[in-house]
């Protein structure tokens, strides 16, 4: 059986165009491996946020009571979106470390690893959103035009989070404690951002500080779009602010990543 149908001179550009396929294969592989040896398999990607939701819901609807319309949906959406941020940013560093043996041997653009990681998390996010919409329907909430707004917010969130992930994973091989520091930040951010509690319980003078965090704007925006009541975060201005943040993060992250990723093979 002959392997080569023609000489390989025509294949001189082979490989360079196949980066998209490589990204997809890496993302799918990662998703498969993550749940491969567990009995519940893919269900875990749904159970994890649900368990977290269950615990927090128990605490904050029985022991403490907020005055929030549809608190169940409010909380679940917040947790799902924050989990996506945490998963992409933290896993991109872990993923990079895991791929070190390959990075030392084969050349491909290093950002493929970060993008693959973000796609895995995106898949989890989409599965989680399905669960959210099941809750949504059960609780009798009404679909509105806001669902299109949600897509825009998710896109903004994706760009923002990938920018962050690029920034962090660029630094990671040289400074390993970036991972630990970021873990603390993610924990801190979870409580500083109005995810569990309504923004109304925070004194007004701190609002501008809280909404310096573009992720907080996105989460509030998504809630107002889906659950209501409509408010300032649906305004055009909010999108402008978020998009400026997201594009800045992305540009800085990508720039730094391109610069530092050249020596990944030596640093990792």
């Amino acid at each position: 059986m002959s392997l080569y149908t023609e000489t390989c001179k025509q294949d001189i550009s082979l490989g360079r165009k196949n980066y998209i396929y490589l990204t997809l294969v890496m993302a799918i592989t990662d998703f498969k491996i993550k749940y491969d040896n567990s009995v519940l398999g893919y269900l875990w990607s749904l159970l994890k946020p649900l368990l977290m939701f269950g615990t927090l819901y128990l605490v904050f609807s029985v022991f403490v009571r907020w005055d929030v319309e549809n608190y169940k949906l409010y909380l679940l959406l917040g947790i799902i979106l924050w989990n996506f941020l945490a998963e992409v940013t933290l896993n991109s560093m872990v993923f990079l470390e895991g791929k070190a043996p390959i990075l030392k041997k084969i050349y491909f653009p290093r950002w493929i690893i970060v993008i693959a990681c973000s796609l895995t998390a995106l898949l989890t996010l989409l599965l989680n959103m399905i669960v959210f919409f099941i809750f949504f329907v059960i609780s009798g909430a009404q679909f509105s035009i806001g669902i299109f707004m949600l897509a825009l917010y998710l896109l903004e969130l994706y760009v923002l989070v990938v920018g962050l992930a690029l920034f962090l994973s660029a630094l990671f091989p040289k400074f390993r404690d970036v991972h630990h520091i970021w873990e603390v930040f993610v924990q801190l951010g979870f409580w500083i951002t109005p995810i569990v509690y309504p923004i109304s319980i925070v004194p007004a003078k701190y609002h501008s500080l809280i909404f310096l965090n573009p992720a907080a704007r996105i989460i509030q925006g998504c809630r107002q779009a889906l659950i209501g009541p409509t408010g300032e975060f649906l305004a055009f201005k909010n999108h402008i602010i978020i998009i400026s943040f997201a594009v800045c993060f992305f540009a800085i992250g990508l720039g730094l990543f391109n610069k530092l990723s050249r020596s990944f093979a030596e640093d990792l």
Binding site: L3, T7, C8, I106, F108, V178
Partner: protein
Amino acid sequence: MIAFEHVNKIFRLPHDRKTTLRQHFTRILQKHTYEKLYALRDINLYVESGEFLGIVGKNGSGKSTLLKLVAQVLEPTSGTISVNGNVAPFLELGVGFQWELTVKNNVFLYGALLGMSRQQIIEKYDWIIEFSGLERFVDAKLKNLSSGMQVRLGFSITVSVESPILLVDEVLAVGDIDFQHKCYDSFESFKKNGRTIVFVSHDLNAVEKFCDRVILLEEGKAIAEGNPLDVLNLYKSQEK
């Protein structure tokens, strides 16, 4: 085509590697001490398309560094390198595989890593499985295969990548004799197909048999270059 012009590669090996921020801060005032390791010094190299180049030398003479520079994984400290065409390296056992996945899944993952498209892998899939002799194990998890089988799988996938440049770094020693023969047969067919191969090996017989030209490295310098017999004789006489 591969061209090296005055290529130097220096590794800086800090005496105490700083990998945490605290270490960076506490040491910022101290004098940095590191060992400079000259992995390659002033390498000039031109490999034509279709040439089979052998590289020999003792451990630590810079052979693997040279391959990594060709693969563009490392950047040279100074000098220029131009490589025309996609490079497929033969990976050592374990790199690039996922043990928890099936043989079939691994073919697609490994192929993608080496730069193949989905379409190309599908076209080559049957050939890869047949060449590696794993027809019965397609749906088995990779971790349950013997190391010989894994090497065969890796080799078969790499061979099926139609990249113009192949890098072979001492990976064939694990396979059995039958498989080694198969490998050497496929080297012959590479040569016929006009693919460039850079071959690093301690198996001097194989180097002599296949290479058109051999370079001898010593402490990062190319101390001899030319036809295999002469260079290998020099290398052997040095060892005594």
